[in-house]
Amino acid sequence: MADLKLVNVEKAYGEVKVLRNINLDIKTGELIVFVGPSGCGKSTLLRMIAGLERITGGEFTIDGVKMNDVPPAQRGIAMVFQSYALYPHMTVRDNMAFALKIAKKSAAEISAAVDKAAKILQLTPYLDRLPKALSGGQRQRVAIGRAIVRDPKVYLFDEPLSNLDAALRVATRIEIAQLKEQMPNSTMIYVTHDQVEAMTLASRIVVLAGGGISQVGTPLDLYERPENEFVAQFIGSPAMNLLPGEVVETGETTVVRLENGGVARSRVPTMATDKGMKVNIGVRPEDLVAATGEAIFTGEVEITEALGEVTLLYFKRQGEAAQVVAKLPGIHAGLRHKSVSLTAAPEKVHVFANGRSLLYR
C-alpha cells in the first residue's frame, strides 16, 4: 500500500532548474510510466523518488510521510536499473539476498524469500551462477528478483528493457505486465523513452518535456485527447500531422480553412469569438482517408513505404510546411508521384491554438 504525492517538486543544479512544478498524485496499485524525449528529466525524477538525487524544492510524500530527506533504503522502494546493476562478484542467490542480509533477516526467511522470487521469475536453475554466466534477459530478471525479494511498497524501473534485443524486449515487457498483475497492491513507476512500452504497460502515463509535466493521463487519453501539440506529436508513430489555418466557422463543429487551401472540419467546439483565430489542426496519419469532395490536404506523394499491413505515404513538402504523412491500411501500389487528396472524420481532427488543444480551456 503506497500513495505517492509530489507537490511542486523541483530539481536544480546550481542556477539551472532541470525540473520544476512537478505535481503528481500516484495511487496504490498504479503503474505510472514517465515518458519524454531524452534530457527531459524523467530519469532524474525517478532518481529523486528513489533518493539517489536530492530534491531541491517542493515536497515528496509516501503515504503522507515526507520523504525528502529520508535515506533511500528507508523509503520502502526498490529500483531496477537499465544496466541491471547486479553485483558481479555475487551469485544470483546472493544478489537477491543482499538487501535481506543487510537488514539482518534470519537465514530461513532469506532463503524462503529468494526461492519464492526465483520461482516467479524462473530463475531457480541459475541461483548459484554468477551474473556473467547469464544472458541479458536472465540478468534483467535477477535485477527484478532483487527488487521483489525486498517486498517494497514502490517499484521503480529505469528503462529496464533498453539493453535487451527487440524480441526479448517484447517478452520481458509482457513478463513485467504479468508481474504487475500478480502484485495488484504494489505501486510501480516506470521510465522509458519507448512509447510502445508506455502505451502497453501504463495505467497512467506522465509525459515530461522541457523540465515539467506536459500531460498526465491514461494511454488512450493521451492518444485521443492530447492536451498540447507536444503530447500530440510525441504519442503515436508516425507523429501527428499539424497543419496551420484559420477558424472560419464556429459552433458544435469547427471549420478551419487551411493555409494549404484545404478545409478541415472538427468536432472540437468553438465559441463565436473564436472566428478568425489562427490555429493548427492536428490529424494522425492513420486517421487520414482518401477524399472524394472537400479535402484537408492535397499533395504529391514523394515516397511510399509498403509495410504490408499498412502503407505509409510521405508527401512532398509545400514551402516551409512540415512534411505530411498518411498511413493507409492495406497495400496501395503505384501511388508514388501521384497527386492524392486526403480528409479525416471530424471527430479525429484536433485543434490547437498557441500549442494548446481547444478541448482543454
Binding site: 528513489a50 533518493g51 539517489l52 533511500p72 533504503a73 528507508q74 522502494i77 526498490a78 529500483m79 536499473f81 537499465q82 544496466s83 541491471y84 546493476a85 547486479l86 553485483y87 558481479p88 562478484h89 555475487m90 543482499f98 538487501a99 543487510i102 537488514a103 532483487r146 525486498r150
Partner: protein, 330 residues
C-alpha cells in the same frame, strides 16, 4: 657541468641512434620487399612477418645481455668458490642454511614480505577511498604520491633524521624522539633495538609504496559501475558495508596485483637497509646480505648463491603477477 653535457650527449646519441635504427631497418625492409610489383601481396605478408622482429631486436639483445646472460652466470658462480675459479658443488648452499646471518636475513625478509605489502595496500586502499570523497582529494593524493618520486636512499636519509638520536639534554632533532620527549619519555637509539628497528625500516618502504597502491586502486575504484553502488545504497548498505561488500570485492583482482607488485619490490629491498643500518642490529635482509658478501666479503660464490635464492623467491610471485595483470587487462 661537464657531467651534465656528458649525460645530455649520451641521451641524444641513444635516442637518436634508436630512431635511426628503426628508420633505416624499416626502409631496408621496404626496399627488399617492395609493396608494389607482381608479388605485392606476398611481399607485404613477408614484410609484416619480419617487421615486429626487426623492432624487437634491440630490446631482445639488451634483455639477453643484461638479464639472461647474468642469470646463467650467477648460477655458474654459485657453485664455484669465492674467486669463481674452483668448482665447489653445493658448498655455498650448504653454508647458507647454517649461517646465522643468512637465517636472520630470511626471517627479516619474511617479516618484510608480510608487513610491507599488507600495510601499503591497506593504506593505499583507504587513501584511495577517502581522497575520492573530499574536495581537496587531488591535493591529498599528490602529497601521498610524492614519496614515490623519492629514491629509496633519499627516503632513507629523510627517515634517518626522523629516527635520529641525540644524547639526553641535547635538543632532539629526530621527530620520533622529540615526540617521545614531549610526552615525558626518554629518547632512544631506535635503530639499534632488534626487531623494532626492522619495523622502523619497513615504515620507510610503506611510506613510499602507499602512493603507488593508492593511485592504482583509486583508478580501479573509479572503474566500478556507479549503478552497483547505487543499487547497494537502495538495498540499505551502510558506507562501510558498501566499501567492503560491494566495492572491494569488485576490485579484488587489482588489489592482488598491487599486493604482489609490492611483494616483489620488497623481496629486492636493499637500499633502505644499506643506507640506514647496513644490516646491523639484526636488520639484515637478503638483498643487502648478498651485496655484503660480494663487496665486503669478496666472495662471488656465496653472493651468487644468495642471489639465486632471491630469484627463486621472486619468480613464482612474478609469474602469478604477470598472469593476473594480463587477465585484468582483458
Amino acid at each position: 657541468m661537464e657531467q651534465f653535457f656528458g649525460a645530455a650527449t649520451t641521451i641524444v646519441i641513444g635516442v637518436g641512434g634508436c630512431l635511426l635504427y628503426f628508420f633505416l631497418t624499416n626502409l631496408l625492409l621496404d626496399r627488399i620487399f617492395p609493396a608494389s610489383g607482381p608479388d605485392i601481396s606476398r611481399n607485404i605478408n613477408r614484410a609484416n612477418a619480419i617487421r615486429p622482429w626487426l623492432f624487437l631486436f634491440p630490446a631482445l639483445v639488451l634483455l639477453a645481455l643484461y638479464l639472461v646472460y647474468p642469470l646463467f652466470w650467477s648460477v655458474y658462480l654459485s657453485v664455484m668458490d669465492a674467486n669463481g675459479r674452483e668448482f665447489v658443488g653445493l658448498y655455498n648452499y650448504q653454508w647458507m642454511v647454517s649461517d646465522p646471518k643468512f637465517l636472520e636475513s630470511m626471517r627479516n625478509n619474511i617479516l618484510w614480505l608480510i608487513v610491507v605489502p599488507a600495510f601499503s595496500t591497506f593504506f593505499g586502499l583507504v587513501a584511495a577511498a577517502l581522497t575520492d570523497r573530499i574536495r581537496w582529494g587531488n591535493f591529498a593524493k599528490a602529497m601521498i604520491f610524492m614519496p614515490m618520486a623519492i629514491s629509496f636512499v633519499g627516503a632513507s636519509v629523510i627517515w634517518k633524521f626522523v629516527y635520529d638520536f641525540r644524547p639526553e639534554g641535547q635538543n632532539q632533532i629526530g621527530l620520533l624522539n622529540a615526540i617521545v620527549e614531549a610526552f615525558g619519555g626518554t629518547p632512544e637509539t631506535w635503530l639499534t633495538h632488534e626487531i623494532v628497528n626492522s619495523f622502523l625500516l619497513m615504515v620507510v618502504l610503506i611510506w613510499i609504496q602507499t602512493g603507488f597502491a593508492m593511485v592504482i586502486l583509486s583508478a580501479a575504484l573509479r572503474g566500478i559501475p556507479e549503478e552497483t553502488v547505487e543499487a547497494a545504497i537502495l538495498d540499505g548498505a551502510s558506507p562501510l558495508q558498501l566499501f567492503f561488500k560491494i566495492k572491494v570485492p569488485q576490485i579484488w583482482g587489482t588489489i592482488l596485483v598491487v599486493w604482489t607488485t609490492i611483494t616483489i619490490t620488497v623481496l629486492k629491498v636493499f637500499d633502505i637497509v644499506l643506507a640506514m643500518t647496513n644490516g646491523q642490529w639484526g636488520t639484515q635482509v637478503l638483498g643487502n646480505y648478498m651485496y655484503d658478501w660480494l663487496v665486503r666479503g669478496q666472495d662471488s660464490g656465496r653472493a651468487s648463491a644468495i642471489a639465486i635464492v632471491i630469484m627463486l623467491l621472486v619468480l613464482p610471485i612474478m609469474i602469478w603477477n604477470i598472469r593476473n595483470a594480463r587477465r585484468e587487462m582483458r
